[in-house]
Amino acid sequence: MLLLLPLLALSACSQHAEFIPENETLNDATTGKPYYGQINIFGGRVLSYNVRGKKRIVGDINPQNIGLYLQYCDKDEMSDCLQIRGTPTEEGIVKVRVHGGLAGSMFSKSGYFDKTYTITIKKGDVLP
């Protein structure tokens, strides 16, 4: 029983995600100029499979047709690091939502994360 008590105490934990950037705003973008942003998810192994067992990027961008897209940060396709790339085509507000699960372990429950970032796209300089 003495052995079980610490296990029970540890098992009360569940995985909790933290993010970089911590705030909910990514750098502004400018129409016609290449954009780069990065989001890191910490706190455990990010689950990245859909219901069919296929790998998925744990985020999405809205609106989708504004010239920005999400991709993995490296060739290992680790789902805890996402990049936002592309060249915005029009002004506006873009929402980047990262959401998914963190794997549990022998001593901790799985966890869920859901965070939305905002990118403001400003109008680029127009040549006279």
């Binding site: 067992g53 699960g101 022998m106 001593f107 901790s108 859901d114």
Partner: protein, 194 residues
């Protein structure tokens, strides 16, 4: 073998691999909780629940694995794991697993076996792995080696291993042998099935 086991679990609620009987209780066959997160992505695949939770529940006498969040019932100690392998037909040929770190000699011993083609299963702290955070250095995680532990000219450690459904060099990059052995608790070596 795996497909056959899953079919039998689905159709009959039990299966046998060698002498390893997987016969989860009613609670495990009809678990409470949600298989999906709020965004409809899976927390665990149904197949994994049937085989892994089913296996674990078959031998749990104190706790029941009947809820999606039953982590304590999922704690697996080395004697359980060894028994599963042996019942499935594997032969244990070496073990240096325990609650204390196995040290550099422990790595050397297991390296020799894995190079010879034996199956090596080791207990680690999850913080040894990429993208897994842990403030503790206690044993929390089982892995299967796909090759030996190696050290590059800068002293950094690599190990191809299976965990979370993928074979990869999961070891955190840029970590030395001291980092590794602080999170390494030895393992078991099994003779491969013929």
């Amino acid at each position: 073998m795996y497909v056959q086991a899953v079919k039998e679990l689905w159709q009959h609620g039990k299966t046998k691999i060698g002498e390893l009987l997987i016969a989860p209780g009613d609670g495990c066959q009809h678990p409470t909780g949600n298989f999906y997160f709020d965004d409809a992505t899976p927390r665990i695949s149904g197949l994994d629940w049937m085989t892994l939770a089913g296996l674990r529940d078959s031998e749990n006498t104190v706790f029941s694995f009947d809820h999606l969040d039953s982590p304590t019932a999922g704690v697996t100690l080395w004697h359980n794991l060894t028994a599963w392998f042996e019942k499935a037909g594997y032969e244990l040929v070496f073990s240096n697993v325990g609650i204390t770190q196995a040290g550099v000699q422990g790595i050397r011993d297991l390296n020799e076996f894995v190079i010879k083609g034996y199956k090596v299963v080791t207990l680690i702290n999850g913080g040894l792995l990429k993208r897994a955070d842990s403030n503790f250095t206690v044993p929390t995680h089982w892995i299967v080696w796909e090759g030996p532990v190696t050290q590059d000219t800068a002293g950094y450690i690599s190990l191809n291993l299976f965990t979370w459904g993928e074979v990869n060099n999961w070891i955190k990059p840029g970590k030395d042998v001291q980092f590794f052995i602080n999170r390494f608790f030895g393992g078991m070596v099994f003779k491969p099935l013929k």
